[in-house]
């Protein structure tokens, strides 16, 4: 699917990957603030660091002078990281002042992002919040006292709603309100929640329930598409109606006594893969597997021996 990116987004991405002067690729050593968001399992991740010019007496007067990022992600994720650093550096912000930068500002800076890519800008804003929190801890600034509400523990402590991206209920509730999200597709586009296996859409306590709780049930979201069968690998067994134990023992005994010795004499062997009803699934191994008369061996030797000694109805199937 071709994404429609703005010229600005494309330019920032291209400059970044080519490492043009003035781009912000990298990581500051011993940074004053470090924040991360996303993970490689989710498909994008950002490590954001900044340095401040420290104020002699009042840490809240620190000013951000330098910002850097490392980003694993798509074109727009890298462009959004670049945009974030540009905005943070150009504004002479204090760390708390930098919190004014929202994901919407990043989107505006990029001259817009495709709807499905809004989460890239959210990642930038979230990493910034985390970095500011980290700075406050290092500098001994009590954010709560200053009326700044950052709760990094919301991702650790809350109930996980979206398993695919590991997103918790407190985080989802905050972002749904902050970003004014009213439907499940809007949530998926903005913060990815529910965008993969989709199983959290309509389960109890799932995305729809959270939306209903925040906005009221009238605001119903669009129905979701069916999920793909991940984890459906398990093979169902249904051998219940046949009682194969004695039968299998007999088959094995005959093969042991009448078939194996002959095959082993020629450097080969036989493996029983499965027995279903009167069908015996076998595999010739060793020299027999590549033998030109393998098909005949199966029919004349194996099948005939089993027919003679166990049950006339037995069929041998090569696998």
């Amino acid at each position: 699917m071709a994404w429609e990116y703005s010229e600005k987004t494309k330019q920032l991405f291209t400059d970044a990957v080519q490492g043009k002067p003035g781009t912000h690729l990298g990581e500051i050593e011993n940074p004053d603030g470090l924040g991360e968001h996303g993970s490689i399992t989710c498909g994008d991740a950002l490590r954001f660091t900044f340095r401040v010019r420290r104020h002699q007496t009042d840490p809240t007067q620190d000013v951000i002078t330098e910002a850097r990022y490392l980003t694993f992600g798509c074109t727009s994720a890298i462009a959004a990281s670049e945009a974030l650093c540009l905005m943070v550096e150009d504004g002479d912000y204090t760390p708390i002042g930098a919190l004014k930068i929202t994901n919407a500002d990043i989107v505006d800076f990029l001259d817009g992002l495709p709807e499905q890519k809004i989460h890239c800008s959210v990642m930038g804003a979230e990493a910034l919040r985390a970095a500011v929190f980290n700075w406050a801890q290092k500098r001994g600034v009590d954010l709560k006292k200053l009326g700044v509400d950052i709760q990094p523990e919301e991702q650790q402590d809350g109930r996980v709603v979206c398993q695919c991206f590991g997103l918790t209920e407190p985080y989802l509730r905050r972002k749904i309100k902050e970003l004014n999200l009213h439907t499940i597709p809007q949530i998926s586009n903005a913060i990815k929640a529910g965008g993969a296996c989709m199983s959290c859409h309509h389960t109890p306590g799932g995305l729809q329930d959270i939306l209903d709780d925040i906005w009221g049930p009238e605001e119903s979201a669009a129905a979701s598409a069916p999920a793909l069968p991940d984890g459906k690998g398990a093979v169902s067994e249904s051998d219940a109606q046949i009682s194969p134990y004695q039968f299998s023992k007999k088959v094995e005994k005959v093969i042991e006594e009448h078939v194996r010795p002959m095959l082993q004499r020629d450097g080969g062997d036989l493996e029983i893969v499965d027995i279903k009803d009167t069908a015996v699934y076998c595999r010739l191994v060793g020299a027999c597997a590549t033998c030109a008369v393998a098909g005949t061996t199966m029919k004349l030797l194996v099948e005939q021996a089993l027919k003679d000694h166990v049950d006339e109805r037995i069929r041998v199937i090569a696998v």
Partner: protein
């Protein structure tokens, strides 16, 4: 800038020869093959001839066993729903976890309609476990639908063997295969090694015919119910006026593919191998997905660890190179490829997968050009990646651990 098209598992360019044979049926021979007047005879003859030619290429099956459809997705829908509706007594269906959505989604719909569906897993090379396949067969198994070659990785399933095991277990089990990626590339003889296959789907636009035409093979006496109703065409088994120019185009495309198959196999296979080998030598932490399995000679699916596929595709396209990725960012669903996840490709690489799929129109120079630009594209992105240690050109130690997730 010259376009280098290496996304032939998505679609192919229409061959000049195909285009030329289609033209008269768009301009002068535009008649409805069902009409009675003399003028329509040409159109009607052309469809019959195409059917006979294609039947011949598939091992000399009866022409009436070929139905023309609009695409492989329609063929797959028709095959699976057609079998399900004609056999109400059996309720178990088997398929694999790595099918194209045109089979996977149809099977999920059957599940919603009360069928039981077994999705067979694959191993890390993309192979099916034949033992697991045997164990999954049940007395009430109605249908087994297993693709011939995988569209993402090119991994080939032993359809000949699997269909034989089905029929030897129980001749009433119906076997369907989606051969969209393999037809014209691998030998398919429906009277020989593939004689146990009852239904086979394919489309034109993967073998240099235009989009909008496909076919379904339905073996005679298969218990199957038509899907598309509303006309006598295709002996009432697929209603709708025959798409004469496209059917003629499909015939020509099959002719080109079957006649050049062995030469193409050799030449395109060499190009693919050269690309795989060169890139693996030049780029660390790069794997070929499905490397230990038999694979289509045209397909190369690479896992570039610690970078994201969309950024790769974007830079490739800046060089005129058209490829695709199994990354979540390119799927529109935020979810990475179900095929690569089923193969347990680690998350560190699944987002960085890139698929090159070649055709007979690719040249050596094009492949050399890709070899020239691709390593730089990956290293550019790795410089940006929080999981990569650029100074030592290796993953960061903490990132290595993520590989086992």
């Amino acid at each position: 800038m010259q376009t280098i098209y290496v996304d032939n598992n998505a679609t192919t360019q229409v061959a000049q020869e195909v285009y030329e044979v289609m033209l008269p049926y768009l301009t002068s021979d535009y008649f409805n093959p069902s009409s009675m007047y003399e003028q329509a005879r040409g159109a009607s003859t052309a469809v019959s001839k195409a059917r006979a030619t294609i039947a011949g290429f598939l091992g000399g099956i009866h022409p009436d066993e070929i139905l023309f459809t609009s695409c492989a997705t329609e063929s797959n829908n028709a095959a699976i729903f057609g079998v399900a509706s004609a056999n109400p007594n059996r309720r178990h269906v088997m398929t694999t976890a790595v099918e194209h959505p045109a089979v996977l989604e149809v099977c999920l719909e059957l599940e919603r309609r009360g069928f039981e569906v077994t999705f067979l897993p694959v191993d890390t090379s993309g192979n099916l476990d034949v033992g697991g396949f045997v164990r999954a067969l049940r007395p009430d198994t109605l249908l087994v639908s297993i693709m011939h070659a995988n569209n993402e990785t090119g991994v080939i399933f032993p359809v000949e063997e699997l269909s034989r095991i089905c029929k030897e277990t129980d001749p009433s089990i119906i076997f369907h295969t989606d051969a969209t990626q393999s037809l014209g590339k691998l030998p398919i003889d429906l009277r020989g090694a593939f004689r146990h296959v009852d239904l086979l789907s394919f489309s034109g636009h993967k073998l240099h015919a235009p989009k909008g035409v496909g076919a379904l093979y339905v073996k005679r006496d298969t218990c199957w119910h038509p899907f598309m109703m509303g006309g006598h065409q295709e002996k009432g088994r697929r209603a709708g006026t025959e798409n004469v120019p496209y059917v003629v185009g499909l015939e020509k495309a099959c002719e080109l593919a079957f006649q050049n198959r062995e030469a193409d196999y050799e030449r395109v296979g060499k190009l693919r191998d050269r690309l795989a080998q060169a890139l693996q030598e030049m780029i660390p932490c790069l794997q070929v997905n499905g490397r230990d399995a038999p694979r289509l000679h045209t397909t190369l699916n690479l896992a570039c660890h610690y970078v994201e596929g969309e950024g790769i595709l974007y830079q490739l396209s800046a060089h005129g190179i058209c490829a695709s990725s199994g990354s979540a960012c390119t799927s529109g669903s935020l979810k990475p490829s179900h095929v690569l996840r089923a193969m347990k490709v680690p998350f560190t690489a699944v987002h960085g997968s890139v698929r090159f799929s070649l055709s007979r129109y690719n040249t050596e120079q094009e492949i050399e050009r890709i070899i020239e630009v691709f390593p730089r594209i990956v290293s550019n992105l790795r410089k940006l990646s929080p999981y990569w240690d650029d100074r030592n050109n290796r993953p960061r130690p903490e990132a290595k651990e993520l590989e086992n997730r």
